[in-house]
C-alpha cells in the first residue's frame, strides 16, 4: 500500500473508448490494500470491463458493505457515486437505490465475512428478489481488516496462519445463490483476469441478479500452506468449466485456453454470450445441472470456475413490481400527488 497520490496526468495518446474515456478515467484512488491482494486484481478487472464496454463511469453506482473488499469501490470508477454502507447490509441499500433509479448500473461489492456471515440473510434475499445488479463477492475465506479470523466460507480442515484448524462446514455462496434464485451465477479467480473480465462483462449485460464469487487470496492472512484459498491451492485445484470468449456487439476478448465447443446464450438485451465449453457435461442454462455440477466437483476438492448458470429469460425486480420506466427519483408532484380534489373525495368517504 502507499500514500503516494496517483498522478492525474496521462499520456495524450491513450486510447479512448466509444464514450470518449481513457482507461485511466475508470480508475479510482490508489489502493490501501496489501501489495499482492487479490482484491486489487478484481478492481482492475472491473475497470477493464467497464472501459471496454463503453460504460459512462458516472452511470455506475458502487455499493459495498464493510471489510477489505468493501473498501475497494474507492479504488475504481472514481467519478461514480459510491456508498460504503453497513456491515453485511449492502444488498438492502443496493435494492433501495435500484428502486429509486432503474437507469444506473448497480455494482455491489462484498466480502465473505460481509455476505456469508453477518449478511447471509440480505445476500439470500437480494438474490431471490431479482435485483438488477452485479454482485461481486471477493472471497478469501478470512477476515482481513480484523487480522485473520476465519470466515464462514473457510473450508473444513483449512488451517489459519496461527495454526487453528477450522472445523465448521463452509458456506458455498455459489450454491446458495443458485438455490436462492440468482439468474446469473459464476465463479472467478482473481489470479485469472482473462476469465474474470468476460464474466464481469456478461454479468453487466445480464438483467437480474448476477452473482460472481471471486476467489481472492489474502496475502497477509490466508496465503500459506494449509489454506484452501491461497494462490497456489486455487491454481492447483481450479477446474474451469468454460470460458466466455466474447460478447456479441462488443470487442472480442480472448482467453488463453484450449479448443472447445462454443455455446451461444442470448441475453435479455439481445446480446449473445459466446461460451467456450471446456467440460461438455455442463449446460449453463440448466440450473439443476449447475447445482449438481458444482456439488460433484466440490466433493472432489475442485474449485469450479466459469459461468455456471445464466437464465436467458430472467425478469428483474422492477418487472415484478411493474414500475414505470422513468426513474422514481425523477417523478414530481404532478405524477405523485393525487391533489386536493381527490382528497375531498377521500374525506367524503369517511363521514
Amino acid at each position: 500500500m502507499t500514500y503516494i497520490a496517483k498522478p492525474k496526468l496521462h499520456h495524450p495518446t491513450l486510447p479512448r473508448n466509444q464514450v470518449g474515456f481513457t482507461r485511466r478515467d475508470y480508475e479510482g484512488r490508489i489502493s490501501t490494500l496489501c501489495a499482492g491482494c487479490g482484491h486489487d486484481s478484481i478492481s482492475a478487472a472491473i475497470i477493464q470491463a467497464c472501459w471496454e464496454m463503453d460504460i459512462e463511469p458516472h452511470r455506475v453506482a458502487k455499493l459495498s458493505g464493510i471489510g477489505c473488499s468493501s473498501k475497494t469501490p474507492d479504488y475504481f470508477l472514481g467519478n461514480s457515486h459510491g456508498f460504503n454502507t453497513v456491515h453485511g447490509r449492502m444488498p438492502s441499500v443496493l435494492t433501495g437505490a435500484n428502486l429509486a433509479n432503474r437507469d444506473l448500473l448497480y455494482l455491489g461489492v462484498s466480502g465473505d465475512g460481509d455476505s456469508a456471515s453477518i449478511g447471509l440473510g440480505q445476500f439470500a434475499h437480494g438474490m431471490r428478489r431479482g435485483v438488477n445488479m452485479v454482485y461481486v463477492l471477493e472471497n478469501n475465506g478470512v477476515y482481513g481488516l480484523t487480522k485473520g479470523q476465519f470466515s464462514a466460507t473457510a473450508d473444513e480442515g483449512s488451517r489459519s496462519k496461527r495454526g487453528v484448524v477450522n472445523m465448521d462446514a463452509p458456506i458455498d455462496t455459489v450454491s446458495l445463490a443458485l438455490i436462492m434464485g440468482a439468474t446469473f451465477v459464476a465463479r472467478g479467480f482473481s489470479g485469472d483476469k482473462g476469465q474474470l473480465v468476460p464474466l464481469i462483462k456478461a454479468a453487466i449485460n445480464h438483467r437480474g441478479a448476477a452473482f460472481i464469487d471471486v476467489i481472492s487470496p489474502c496475502v497477509a492472512f490466508n496465503n500459506h500452506a494449509g489454506s484452501t484459498k491461497s494462490y497456489d491451492y486455487v491454481r492447483e485445484h481450479n477446474d474451469a468449466v468454460n470460458r466466455i470468449d466474447f460478447i456479441a456487439l462488443r470487442p472480442e476478448v480472448t482467453a488463453d485456453t484450449g479448443v472447445a465447443e462454443v455455446v451461444e446464450i442470448e441475453q435479455h438485451d439481445g446480446t449473445v454470450l459466446h461460451l467456450r465449453r471446456i467440460d461438455p457435461d455442463h449446460d449453463p442454462t440448466d440450473k439443476i445441472a449447475a447445482m449438481n455440477y458444482v456439488q460433484r466437483h466440490q466433493a472432489k476438492g475442485e474449485i469450479v470456475t466459469g459461468l455456471l448458470y445464466a437464465d436467458p429469460h430472467a425478469r428483474d425486480l422492477h418487472e415484478h413490481l411493474s414500475t414505470v420506466q422513468r426513474p422514481l427519483n425523477q417523478l414530481g408532484e404532478s405524477e405523485l400527488c393525487p391533489g386536493a380534489a381527490a382528497l375531498a373525495r377521500f374525506n367524503a368517504s369517511l363521514r
Binding site: N84, V93, A97, L99, D103, G121, N329, L336
Partner: protein, 613 residues
Amino acid sequence: MKPIAAVNDFVVKFANVNGSGSASANELFARAILRMGVPVSPRNIFPSNIQGLPTWYEVRVNERGWLGRRGGVDLMVAMNPQTWDADIAEIEPGGYLFYDNSKPLPSSKFREDITVIGMPLTQICNSTYSDPRQRQLFKNIIYLGALSMLLGMEQEAVAQLIGEQYKGKEKLLQPNLHALGLGRDYAEAHLTHPPIGLRVRRADNVGDRIFVDGNSAAALGCVYGGATVCAWYPITPSSSVAEAFQKYCGKYRADEAEGNRYAIIQAEDELASIGMCVGAGWNGARAFTATSGPGISLMTEFIGLAYFAEIPVTIIDVQRGGPSTGMPTRTQQADVIACAYASHGDTKHVLLLPEDPKECFEHAAAALDLADRLQTPVFVLTDLDIGMNQRLCEPLQWDDARTYDRGKVMTREMLDAGTTFGRYLDVDGDGIPYRTYPGTHPSKGGYFTRGTTKNAYASYSEAGADYTYNVQRLLRKLETAKQLVPQPVVRHAAHRTKVGVLYYGSTAPAMAEAVAELEEGSILIDTMRLRAFPFPDSVADFIQDHEQVFIVEQNRDGQMRTLLVNELGIDPARLMAILHYDGTPITARYITAEIGERIRAMNIEPLRKDKVA
C-alpha cells in the same frame, strides 16, 4: 341503585371473541351514532391473536366531543363467556348489562346494582340460520339491531350504513338487513318497556369531520408527500401503514400502460427495510418505512449511518408496549428516547409527534420534506391508540400549490457553472450541505459516501479536526431544524396561572377534557402540546414562565421529561411527571385526579374564577 340516565354521554363496551366477526358490526354501531351528529370515539382493545382470545371494542358517546378514553362502562355488551366476570365487574353502578340469555346463568353471575337485559341471541340465530358461520356472523348484526332500538337510535342511520357497506353486493345486503330487523323487532317487543336510561339523540356536533385511523392517514400523507419507495416488515401496530400505502398507491399511482409510480417491498426484516429506504434516499427518491419499537432497535445501526452520512429517510414508528407479545397490542409512548438518540456515536434525530389522524397525515408529508431539507432521518412518532383506532378529526387538507421541498440538491447545471461542491461543506451557515444524486455529472460531483471518516469534501479522513468540523455542523443543522419542525401549540387559561402542563401525541384528547374538568374545579392551567423534537426555544420559555410544570406522558420513565431535562438543562425538580403506562389509553379522569391531587398537596389554593393568580 338508581339506573344511570344519560343522553349522548355514556360508554358502551363490547366484549367479544377475536375472529367472531364482531368488528364490523361494532364499527357500524359507532358510525351510526356519528351519522346522528353525535361524536363517538371507539377503541379496540385486542390480543396478540387471530382467533379465540378476548377482544373488546369500547365506544365513548359524547355530544360535547371529548374523544379521549373516559374509563368506566355504562353499558356492557357481554358476548364472551371467558371474560364474563371481569366484564360484569367493570360496569359502573347503575349501569346496564346486555347479554345472550339463550342458556340460563346462575344469579351469582350477575350484580344487583345493574340493569340486566337478556336476549336469546343464539336461539334466534339457530332457529333462523342453519349454516354455523352465518349463525355466528349474523349474531353480531342482530345485537346491533337490538342495541339501536334500546338506545333509541335512528333506524335509517344503521340501515343506510349497511346499504353503503354492501353497495353492489345485493346478495349480502338483504340478509344483513334482515338480521338487523330481527334484532330490532325483538328489542322493540321485549326490551324497551320501559326504555333504558341511555339514549342517543340527534345532535349537530360532528360537522364535516371525518372518521379515520391514524395509520391510514399517515399512509395517505406519504402518498401526498411524494414517497415512492416503501420498505417494511410486518409488526403490530404499524403493519396497516404499509398496507394502506399499498392500497392508496394502487388507487392513485397505478397505471396499466405506463406502470406503477411507486415501489413497495416487504423486506425480510427491519434491517433490510431501513437499508432499502436509506439506499433509495441516497439515490434521490423519497422513501419511508413503518415500524414499532422492536423494529427501531434493529434499525439503529442504519439510523446512525444515515445521520452521519446525511441521507434522508422517514420512519413512522407506531409505538406500543415493550418486547415480544402481549403488551405490544397495547398503546404506549415508550420509544421517545430510543428514537431521539437512536444509534451509536453522538446522534440526535428529528421527531414529529402527531396528536390524531389528521396530524398523522400532515406530519407524514412534512417528514418527507424535512428529511430532504435536513438530509437526515425523521421520525413520525405515533402510537397504537392513534394508529389503529378510528378517530373523529378535521378533514384532511392539501394545497395544490404546495411543492415538495427537495432540499439542497446540486444539479448538473450548477456543477457545469463551476459551483464548488463539498458534500459535507457548510456553505450557508445552516449546517446543511449540498448533495448530488448519483449519476448527475460525468466528471463532477461524484463522491464516496461513508459514515464519519471523511472531510468536508467527502474524502477519506481520520483527522480529528475533520471529524469535529462535521459533528459540530450536524449540531448546527439540528438548530436549523428547530425552526422548521411543527411548532408547539400553546393554550392559555382564561386567567394568568402559575401551572403549566406539557403533553404530546395521543394524550391530546384526554388532556383537553382534563383542562375543562380542572377549570370546573377552579384549577387553571396553561398547556403546551409538543409537536416535535428538537425543542423550539418556545418550549424552554414556557417552562420558564410557569412555577409548576407538569409533563403528561404514557410511559413509565417520563421519557420526554428526560429529554427536556437533558436538552434544555431544566432543573428536574421543575418538571413533575404524570405518567400512565398500563397499556390502556390515558383518560381525562386520570389526568384530572393526578394534577388536582398534586396541586392540592402543594397547597396551591384553587382559584376562584374571578380572581387572578
